[in-house]
Amino acid sequence: MSEHSRRQFLRAAALSAAGVSCSGWMPRLARAAAGDPARRRHCVLLWMPGGPSQMDTFDLKPGHANGGPFKEIETSVSGLKISEHLPKLAAQAENLAIVRSLSTAEGDHNRGTYLMHTGHKPGGPISFPTMGSTLSKALGTDDAELPNFISIAPQVALNSAAYGPGFLGPRHAPLTVGSGNVIAAPQQPAAGLGVDDLRNPGVGREQEDARLDLWRMLQTSFLAEHGSASPKAQNTVYERAVRMMRSEAAQAFDLAGESDKVKDAYGRGQFGQGCLMARRLIERGVPFIEIALRSNGGVLGWDTHQQNFDRVKSLSAELDAGWATLMTELHERGLLESTTILWLGEFGRTPTINPGAGRDHFPKAWTTVLAGGGIKGGQAYGRTSADGGTVEENQVDVPDVLATLCRALGIDPATCNISELGRPIKIADGKPIEALLA
């Protein structure tokens, strides 16, 4: 055992732990597996950059001075009310678990984004991976045709570490769509959702084939003389990338085949079309998709320091169309029960309205929403005070939310990955909230 490093030992242990927890832990998972052995779990993170206002979306205070002009409407669940500008979601409230008692400590965009994506405060020596990387690693397989983590319209300029794989390494970085390095394929909508670097537009199929032919000669002769793991790994990854570029699976990114009716239902903006793309990716087994609602080019759409109500109204329309339609279509295809959705931003917004008819940053008492597979929908968990200023009941923190998400996905949150510095790091440090789990 002299050379057998602790790292290898723990890695093997972690892998087997992940295997155990995915293979028969949750009753729901076992049922799904029995029905269709190939069925896997999926996670969708709906990311609201800027910090969405909870008091104007899911936790309204209509009677109070802080309440603002929006009204509440009834939902499909008696007693549960949300904003009048989210009618389609209201009609599906039985799928939603609205957590109104989230309380965190980071009110800065960069820091908050990092905290909510990784479950850890920024600034320490460890580069924590974003939840997409850890969860896609736990849910996905190495030989999948499509990458296991796809990020649509990410905000990397703001805090790239919050979106990156950290110590898990580049293999678990997302494939990005529409991040700005856009190579738009001809049929993409004007919203510009091209997969980054999927094609070289100047090179046609024949030329691509010729290049690959030359390339394969070099690979074959090098691999014949160098049989160790890393040249093989490089070759495998490349062949997978080429396969992906040309596969039927890559058609997932091309929305041309969808009818106008469907595209309209999702909403023609970047977020809506991103949700449509997510449905197509889930149909092809992609385990983790992150979609940002940037509001058509704005970097921090939800950061409504001014004109909060006008902007939230239009953002809500986009959110409502995309999210509700995604859930409907997933449900029609029998995929909603294996897809868990998390709606989240970097913090909430102040209950008091500022002179610019806006709300400012507020992490002390805000809202996140879980939906779909593994989640007990149709409820509001936790309660804020009448003025929205504090949490009165069932306060939760981001590690708890992430732990709950893990359990809903059939992952044991205590599963460990080994950090750069040799320390085992759990996927999520918090305690799962049992009341939210189906």
Partner: protein, 521 residues
């Protein structure tokens, strides 16, 4: 405040107190000893050594290991360029090459990159603090001057001043001046000991207890910290008071060297100065071994002990005598990093080929074959850049401009973010599909393979070059070797048959995406 005199006096005081030691063996003698030790292990383990590396293999490997990039076709210094090196009949050319490489500015930059990644946490916060460029330029100066390693440690641990100026202060501020973080980092990097587990509980594998961790952390207790907890520290200076306590107790912990007795009260010296005395003490049981292990890992892909910073009793090496002898050699030669590099690169072991047929048993810990190392993100970017540049001209691009503007280049930063891999995985290929897509279709590669944008292709697109010559230049510029006969036949036929000028771009594309290009073998 000038630190150098203080450091020098500390180190000299130590040297004076240590009994005069015999001069260390010469580099050649030491290299032979290393090979002898390894041969013993191979005989015992019945391992067959790989054949020696050919000149082209050695040249490329040495350039990548020491300067972080691939060799140019020609070099005015007369020996380091591909053509000169391969054509030379000088029996000492390999030794001379290493000397030239160590003298190049790109060597200092490459080692500064490597060490910066080891010393600073890879964190967006660090980038926001600014000062990374200053830290790197300080490191570069240390390597350019071949500052002895004990002085380098001393300068780092005794850092003072602002983090955003050229100097080592960022090491402290990036860890928020926290004693536990500084203890964990310095023990990992300089002592090769992963003591951080013992911060909260007795170490699960090694023998360290909580008291050991906090005794060591106490050396970092007396630093001026910002008043508010949330404030970011921007500068480093000593404070007269400050203690650490084991969490859960309220008793101040006395500073204690790892594995040693309490340091005693040395009036007139700050805690950090006392720590530096211990770190630079020639009989310190950790420092020389950790340094030697790290340099070995840089050159061989893997330390004599693996992981490179986990030299505990629980993690035995297959080469204990070699490790001890190398550590002693390093100390006796004055902690001279360049000398250590010259010695290791002169060994037969460093000059073994990395070739192994598929299915051959892979036992990298024996060093019977050179391990294949992945390129770091910085190396990969620099190699791509080199491969694009006009290569046949007599004067290469001015080194200084290249070296200085590194940190400010947005394209380079974006590339590094995408490709940065954990530093422990030197012999593993860490990339995934997104990285492969970037290398196949991304902006960098499109520019490199476009006739109109690539200097290299543009220069080759001239009537007086035959197709065979063009193909040869492309192979030399990327794989650092001439094409083999079957490759020559196929590639030249392709270029001639295609008839269009774009064919050269296709050849270059294939070369740049090959495993042979993006691995350090």
């Amino acid at each position: 405040m000038r630190l150098r005199p203080i450091i020098q006096s500390l180190v000299l005081a130590l040297a004076a107190s240590w009994p005069a030691a015999a001069a260390p063996p010469t580099e050649a003698e030491m290299a032979a000893k290393i090979d002898a030790r390894l041969a013993e292990v191979w005989a015992r383990e019945k391992a067959l050594a790989a054949p020696p590396a050919e000149d082209a293999e050695f040249l490329r490997r040495a350039w990548l290991d020491l300067c972080g990039t691939i060799p140019p076709l020609n070099d005015p210094d007369g020996i380091s360029g591909i053509r000169q090196f391969l054509d030379s009949n000088d029996p000492d050319k390999r030794v001379r090459l290493i000397e030239r490489l160590l003298a190049r500015p790109s060597h200092a930059t490459h080692f500064a990159n490597v060490w910066k990644n080891v010393l600073l946490p890879q964190d967006a916060e660090v980038q926001r603090l600014g000062g990374e460029a200053g830290f790197q330029s300080w490191l570069r100066g240390q390597f350019a001057d071949n500052v002895p390693y004990d002085m380098l440690i001393a300068s780092l641990v005794l850092a003072q001043g602002q983090a955003n100026q050229a100097g080592p202060a960022l090491f402290f501020t990036s860890l928020q001046l926290k004693p536990e973080e500084l203890a964990a980092s310095t023990s990992r990097v300089f002592l090769g000991t992963q003591i951080q587990c013992a911060q909260c509980h007795d170490h699960p594998f090694d023998h360290w207890k909580k008291a050991d961790f906090w005794g060591y952390a106490a050396f970092f207790a007396r630093l001026e910290r910002p008043q508010q907890a949330q404030q970011i520290a921007f500068q480093v200076s000593d404070a007269a008071t400050g203690e650490v306590m084991i969490p859960g107790s309220s008793e101040a912990v006395t500073p204690r060297f790892l594995g040693g007795d309490t340091s005693g009260d040395d009036l007139g010296k700050s805690r950090r100065e006392r720590l530096v005395q211990w770190l630079t003490w020639p009989e310190n049981p950790f420092v020389a071994r950790a340094a030697v292990n790290r340099v070995w890992a840089l050159l061989f892909g893997r330390g004599l002990v693996h992981p490179v910073d986990d030299l505990g009793r629980h993690n035995a090496s297959a080469h204990p005598e070699l490790m001890s002898e190398l550590a002693e050699y390093f100390v006796r030669s004055g902690y001279d990093l360049n000398r250590l590099v010259r010695t290791l690169t002169q060994t037969k072991a460093y000059q073994l080929s990395s070739r192994s047929p598929p299915g051959a048993e892979d036992r990298p810990e024996l060093f019977a074959r050179m391990s294949i190392k992945s390129l770091t993100a910085e190396q990969l970017y620099d190699c791509l850049l080199e491969a694009m540049r006009r290569r046949e001209s007599a004067s290469p691009a001015p080194q200084s401009a290249l070296v200085l503007n590194r940190g400010l280049d947005a394209t380079r930063q974006a590339f590094l973010m995408r490709f940065r891999a954990p530093t422990q995985g030197a012999t593993e290929y860490e990339g995934g599909i997104p990285q492969a897509l970037t290398l196949m279709n991304g902006t960098n590669i499109r520019q490199a393979t476009d006739l109109n944008q690539s200097d290299l292709l543009g220069a080759l697109d001239a009537p007086f070059f035959t197709a065979a010559q063009k193909v040869e230049v492309l192979f030399l510029s990327t794989l650092s070797r001439p094409p083999r006969s079957e490759e020559r036949a196929k590639f030249v036929a392709y270029v001639e048959q295609a008839g269009n000028r774009q064919a050269l771009g296709d050849v270059l594309w294939a070369l740049l995406n090959s495993a042979e290009f993006m691995l350090n073998h």
